[in-house]
């Protein structure tokens, strides 16, 4: 039941100045708000209408994002002011009080509900065997209905372990042009793909020419970087972002997503940031005509880690 509060505020006129209202002479509080808020409210609504017409006009004459936004903002602001003032000045202010019973039903009601529910449940709960059979049926059906989820995608299989790169695959640029060794000077970088696989998500490799004397490859990869041309997977081993930033001079690869840094001269080993594994290297060879091609796939799975990834 709602009733006005005991201190008897009535609808309509607020019964006295707001707390903190300035005081006039002789200590009598001065009413700062205009005595007839209706005019202001009406003006606000008129502003809304004008702005709405303005928006319609702007739209009609071709539209302009900033004008449209400002005009609609003004229109809604007028409504907000008008309605806010209306509710604060011309509507019953209360405070009103609504009593309520404690949460939770009475003991008698609960007992009655429990009794009735138990009684109705007898039809099921007494038949234990049927109940179990039902549980078996629903459980099995529910599990079976989860099977169509398998249709959502292919099995991972070997997809994460291999890329389209293989022995003899020519390196091409993003527009399909074959890459020659002479295309890169020391300090140049290109993103390359195996020919015919420009769209594959795991195929991108960074091809960089560094000073051959500065490279420090491990023994088993000594021949992988002819003439200082070195290629590594572009996918960061942390979360898969393309490691697009190559710093000439320091020969560092910098991933912009989580700031992993890889040392290109040391097999793209991570030296900073959250990446824990080096960027897999692609073995390269140069054809007699001077074109760059791979002599095998990357030395390990590319990209971020996964459960069954070999070390």
């Amino acid at each position: 039941m709602t009733r006005p509060a005991a201190d008897g505020h009535d609808a309509g006129v607020p019964a006295g100045p707001r707390p903190g209202a300035p005081e006039g002479e002789a200590g009598r509080p001065v009413r700062v708000r205009p005595p007839r808020p209706e005019r202001r409210i009406a003006a606000a609504f008129a502003l809304t209408a004008a702005a709405a017409v303005g928006f319609a006009a702007v739209y009609w004459t071709g539209g302009q994002t900033q004008l449209e936004g400002v005009l609609l903002a003004v229109a809604f602001a007028g409504l907000a002011f008008g309605l806010g003032a209306w509710s604060a000045r011309l509507m019953p202010q209360g405070p009103f009080v609504e009593e309520h019973e404690p949460f939770g039903s009475s003991r008698r009601q609960r007992a009655a509900f429990a009794a009735e529910f138990e009684e109705d449940l007898q039809a099921i709960s007494r038949r234990r065997f049927l109940g179990r059979a039902l549980a078996l049926a629903v459980g099995t059906l529910g599990a079976a209905l989860l099977f169509p989820l398998r249709s959502l995608g292919p099995r991972p299989g070997r997809a994460l372990y291999q890329t389209p790169w293989q022995g003899g695959a020519p390196a091409v640029t993003a527009d399909g042009r074959p890459v020659r060794a002479a295309d890169l000077a020391v300090g140049s970088v290109l993103t390359v793909f195996p020919r015919g696989h420009l769209e594959d998500g795991d195929a991108a490799a960074l091809l960089v020419r560094v000073d051959p004397g500065a490279l420090r490859p491990p023994a088993e990869r000594a021949g992988w970087s002819p003439h200082g041309l070195v290629a590594h997977s572009k996918l960061c081993t942390h979360a898969g972002c393309p490691v697009g930033l190559y710093e000439q001079g320091s020969n560092l690869l910098f991933c912009p997503c989580h700031q992993s840094v890889f040392d290109l001269l040391d097999g793209a080993r991570p030296i900073s940031g959250p990446a824990a594994r080096p960027l897999p290297q692609l073995p390269l060879e140069i054809t007699p005509e001077g074109y760059v091609r791979a002599s095998g796939d990357f030395e390990g799975p590319v990209g971020p880690g996964f459960w069954s990834r070999p070390s």
């Binding site: 707390p19 994002t65 900033q66 936004g69 907000a80 806010g84 604060a88 993003a174 020659r180 002479a182 295309d183 890169l184 000077a185 300090g187 140049s188 970088v189 290109l190 993103t191 960089v208 393309p242 697009g244 930033l245 190559y246 710093e247 000439q248 001079g249 320091s250 560092l252 910098f254 912009p256 840094v261 900073s272």
Partner: protein
């Protein structure tokens, strides 16, 4: 740039000692004219002259770090073979001369006027050649091709919006907001600082034109959606949402509701 006069010298007292020099100047000027073509912003290179203004400026401003003959010292690399493109890039972006020691200086107001820059560039170019100042024609570039090449090669460091980005060790790939087409082309060819270099076999001249055109578009196109917030991205957008958006709304809600319980 004032061309050296090409009128024939009057026979007489002056002609004897200076004639070979004038002939050299005329030949170089003719060659420079041929190079100009439709190159737009390509700067004319003053003919290198021993004892000329370029060398004087070099001795005054550059020799302490780069050596008396450009051979380099422990403070600065050798300039032999870096070419006009490199010198023009560093000088016109104000990166050189260095005001304080740092590995990768930022763009600032150039220390020299255009004439002095040209003189210095000519002098550096005379130190055993190197890449010339590229002839760029952004008007001949194709915006769509430029956008694609920019995304492939530039966006990772300079940001897709051209605002620049952080590199390791406090270095930055700078903002491209003030880069002229010539500077864009020079940087692509030279690979200044930590930036890799792209030889003509990697990005040919029409492609460079397109990239320069796209960079120009990034600079000139306004922000269609309103104030661009520096085109930094979700970081600034989130700040605005909290400070401006939620801030305003909390003020409004305090006005609509009551403050006392």
């Amino acid at each position: 740039m004032p061309q050296p006069p090409t009128r024939q010298p009057r026979p007489g007292a002056r002609a004897g000692r200076l004639r070979p020099l004038w002939l050299v100047a005329a030949a170089v000027a003719a060659g420079a004219l041929v190079q100009l073509g439709a190159a737009g912003h390509a700067a004319t290179v003053q003919p290198a002259q021993a004892g000329g203004r370029g060398q004087l400026l070099y001795q005054q401003n550059c020799a302490t770090c780069h050596g008396q003959r450009g051979q380099g010292t422990e403070r600065g690399p050798s300039l032999i073979g870096v070419g006009a493109a490199s010198a023009d890039f560093y000088l016109s972006t104000g990166r050189m001369p260095l005001t304080e020691e740092e590995p990768n200086p930022e763009r600032t107001k150039p220390a020299f006027g255009q004439a002095d820059i040209d003189a210095l560039v000519a002098y550096v170019a005379s130190l055993d050649g190197g890449p010339r100042i590229p002839a760029v024609a952004p008007a001949a570039g194709r915006l769509a091709e430029g956008e694609q090449l920019y995304q492939e090669n530039c966006a990772a460091c300079h940001s897709a919006t051209g605002t620049g980005g952080a590199l390791t060790s406090g270095q930055t790939a700078p903002s491209l907001a003030q880069a002229t087409p010539v500077q864009v082309a020079e940087a692509i060819r030279v690979g200044p600082g930590a930036m890799p270099k792209f030889p003509p076999q990697a990005l040919n001249d029409p492609q460079v034109d397109s990239v320069a055109a796209y960079v120009g578009h990034l600079q000139d196109s306004g922000d269609r959606g309103g104030y661009g917030l520096g085109r930094i991205g979700p970081v600034t957008e989130g700040l605005v949402a909290w400070v401006v958006g939620l801030g305003l709304l909390i003020l409004i809600v305090r006005r609509l509701g009551k403050d006392v319980p």
